[in-house]
């Protein structure tokens, strides 16, 4: 392990350091954007970062400070001392308890860990571009890029814990456009796979092109209360809005809408929300969280009944419960280094149901289909669950999707939306956030939701 110098230093902690923990996060990535088979832009890096927490004395007792560095050659003792120095001004009395050794971890299926050369990646991207273009027919493939990502995580601490995990995967991104009457329709396609040959490209590209064509042009649209199908990508966006309301970290900060509702029916019976280390069909796997805790398979919502907030060791310690293995660092997009341990998902999914898209459309009859939630960061009150977000949507009449699209504003409440789920689709789509956690969802039909916007063409 690259953390071996720190593991060695942990055997004899310097004076003033009661406990210490090191988390190494190494990420390699190569990305090629192609046009007509040629690379037009290339990005690649191989970078490591080190987070060290150390517990020492503060004015109010023991406290844990944190330091972040990208200089892995720095002496471990110096890094620990810097973390402990930061602990000095901490006045909260809940020093962190680090993860003990001896826990049970899942196997470590690693995926492709040897990065492709840029030439190999370019060839693969060019092939995928050609295939995607053939599936788009008269829609335009505006951009195509292929990214290889490998991450290696190591966590070790002075209690004797030392765990490591690695994962490699590919991401294909295509931007598909179509125009009608001077108005653009677009669909962004983002697929994950453990190999360049493993993308289920044809159905996804054909569906994306069809969607782009259907979204082109403005449409006469009904605002007001009506049912809605969240297409799988939009359902992932909705999950991004939702998870913070189920986070013990969010609850500690300013309140979370689902806190205190354990055992209550908060969603329709068809809704099951699972936090876990992986999911079939998703190539990304996390054996442990950023504190070295095994990622527990936790049913946050089980057939509509709320069971548990996601937690890390700190938030679990405050409530007397157990960590769900959801210690993470990158909660949001942020202009600063997100080094503090917070609560994030690892792989969070709305479990697939049995309804196909055409069945949902027939069941809905008249309503809307939302292809994208344009802003799932703002307009959400995690304490109350109220939200107001813009969406790109199209009209469904008599179970048939109509051409054209509009931007409307969807207002509602997270719990009310979950309660209104009438059907859950079969096919899952996955979305990775900042290479930090992954969300997965199928199509979802929700009854009686409120949309605001202008009517007419």
């Amino acid at each position: 392990m690259r953390l071996q110098p720190h593991i060695d230093a942990f055997r004899a902690l310097p004076p003033g350091v009661a406990q210490a923990e090191a988390h190494l996060e190494a990420q390699a990535q190569k990305r090629v954007a192609v046009r007509d088979g040629q690379a037009i832009s290339t990005e690649f890096f191989d970078r490591s970062a080190l987070y060290v927490r150390a517990t020492g004395a503060s004015d109010t007792g023991a406290a844990t400070g944190l330091t972040y560095t990208e200089n892995l050659a720095e002496e471990p003792v110096a890094v620990m001392r810097r973390a402990v120095e930061n602990a000095r001004v901490i006045s909260a009395t809940d020093a962190v308890t680090f993860t003990p050794p001896g826990l049970t971890y899942a196997d470590d299926p690693r995926g492709p860990l040897t990065p492709p050369t840029l030439a190999e990646l370019t060839r693969a991207a060019a092939g995928l571009e050609q295939a995607a273009r053939s599936f788009c027919e008269d829609a335009r493939l505006a951009s195509c890029s292929l990214t290889y990502t490998r991450y290696v995580d190591e966590v070790a601490n002075s209690l004797g814990l030392a765990v490591e995990s690695a994962c490699g995967y590919y991401t294909l991104e295509c931007h598909i456009l179509s125009e009608r009457n001077g108005s653009q329709g677009e669909k962004k396609l983002k697929l994950l796979s453990d190999s360049p040959d493993g993308f289920n490209l044809e159905p996804a590209a054909r569906d994306a092109a069809r969607t782009a064509r259907l979204l082109a042009g403005t449409a006469p649209i009904r605002a007001g209360a009506q049912p809605v199908i969240l297409a799988a990508d939009a359902a992932c966006d909705f999950l991004f809005m939702l998870w913070r309301a189920m986070s013990a970290g969010q609850n500690r900060q300013s309140g979370a809408a689902f806190a205190g509702r354990e055992g209550q029916q908060v969603a329709a019976a068809g809704v099951t929300l699972v936090s876990s280390a992986t999911h079939p069909g998703c190539p990304i796997r996390y054996r442990f969280d950023n504190e070295g805790m095994p990622v527990a398979r936790t049913r946050l919502v089980d057939r509509g009944v709320f069971r548990s907030l996601m937690s890390n060791r700190g938030t679990a310690g405050q409530t007397g419960g157990a960590s769900t293995g959801n210690a993470g660092r990158r909660v949001t997009m942020s202009g600063v280094i997100q080094a503090a341990v917070q609560v994030t998902p690892k792989v969070l999914t709305i479990e697939a149901g049995e309804a196909r898209r055409d069945e949902m459309l027939r069941q809905m009859g008249d309503g809307l289909i939302v292809e994208e939630i344009l802003d799932s960061f703002h307009g959400i009150d995690y304490a109350s669950g109220a939200f107001s977000v813009p969406v790109t949507c199209a009209v469904v009449s008599g179970g048939e999707r109509q051409p054209g699209s509009r931007t409307l504003v969807w207002t509602g409440n997270l719990a009310a939306a979950l309660n209104g789920v009438a059907a859950v689709g079969v096919e899952m789509r996955f979305s990775c956030f900042r290479d930090s956690y992954t969300l997965g969802a199928p199509d979802i039909l929700i009854q009686d939701q409120s949309f605001a916007g202008a009517g007419g063409a």
Binding site: Q38, A39, I40, S41, T42, E43, F44, F45, G65, L66, T67, Y68, E70, N71, R82, N86, A87, R88, V89, I90, S91, A92, D94, L118, S143, L177, R222, A223, G224, A225, S254, G255, M333, S334, G335, I337, A340, L374, D375, F377, H378, G379, D381, Y382, A383, S384, A386, S388, V389, P390, T392, T407, L408, V409, T411, S450, A452, G453, A454, G455
Partner: protein, 466 residues
Amino acid sequence: MLDHSLAARVIQEALDGGGDFAELFSEDRRELMIEEQRGRIGNVTDARLYGVGIRVLNGPNSSYTYTNDLSAESLMLAAREAAAALGCAGGGLICAPFEPQTVASPNPLRQDPAQVAPERKAALLIEMDAFARSASPFVRNVKADYFETGQNVTVFNSEGVCASEKRTYCRVRLTTTVGDGMRSKAEWRDLLRNDGYGFADRSLWQGEIKDIIDRMVLFLSAEDGPSGVMDVVFEKGESSLFHEAVGHPFEGWAVAEGMSVFSGRLGQQVASPKVTLVDNGALPGLYGSLGMDDTGQPTRRNVLIQDGVLTGYLLDRTSARKLNMQPTGSGRRQNYTYPSSDRMNNTYIEPGDDDDDEMIASLTRGLFVKSIGGGATNPVTGSFNVEVTEGYLIENGRITRPVSGMTISGASDALLKIDRVGRHSPLPVHEGSFCGGGSGLVPVTSFQPRVRVRGMIVGGKDKGEA
């Protein structure tokens, strides 16, 4: 920072490998974060980033890599690989001699936060927490987090640029929850200081916090906002409206790829003749201001729309090449792990000739928006949205009741629907936000005089039909 002779060798390696232009972005960045909640300091983190990003261009094609292994061997290898990725033979170009330059920041430092003891910063947060709690009996929870960034940047390029700038940012993020037992509301706001550790002025931050709390309490009992199409008056001052409504479609990466509603529309009427839209990264004292952009180009005033006519775009070097235009000093990035991209700095509508009061008085029904939270834009379609954090109904020519829980959306034609532009536009000295994009999060401001826009889509919790 990076040795000049090594930088020159690295750039030459990139040129020899096939680039017709090469650039190094060298960054040494220190950050400090202190988290407070309920009167206690819970977390203190310091961080140091130190790395180099290498960009190589050949014609319109680009390659980017970065590393924090700053040995000569590592940097030379990175440059070689970046150039090789372009698949072009070396053209025999020679790196021009560097002309070292220290660029002055438009935000002069009054007190270096690195010289302020952490205990003093921690005490500030605790004092802010206590003041916020005392501001109203409806305050249920307060969290105050301190962020400090000291960034030293040097840009080297094959044209001989060797420009350095030191940038300092300080802010406190206040997250507040208010409640009356039946309803609750949580919000966060950043208290920004552009001159270093500028929190010694207690009356200033106390006034800011009181305004935040008073507004949140007022809107706790606000009725649900209406839905439908309404005329909207946006108050003068800091507002992300035009940043979201039209700013992003001016970014060169989208224009060059034909993925902006403004692609190919130079010289066309895209807004009301009352509108002149500017982006200016050189304005002193503002959160989005820099002495140079992140490619070493001086920041400047860029007129994007003049009297309603589209006159320019925001262009990084790569986009400028694709469009056969000149860069505009608009290349920005969050840190060295991102290639620079065309981004906004301080975006604003210039003052006009219309009377602020008349805009309200002449409306039978409308919405008065005093402050806006975040938003998002789709540059392809031009559709955008902004979150209304302080809105009031306009009824029979008067501002009446507060309304809450609303989002305003529209398209780029919102500019054509502006029928009033006020005469006064205060500079947002202690305001601003972060803008997200392909090159990460960057500090920006967006401001305007009081402006009226006809026929915007307003989404509130009222379930009425459009």
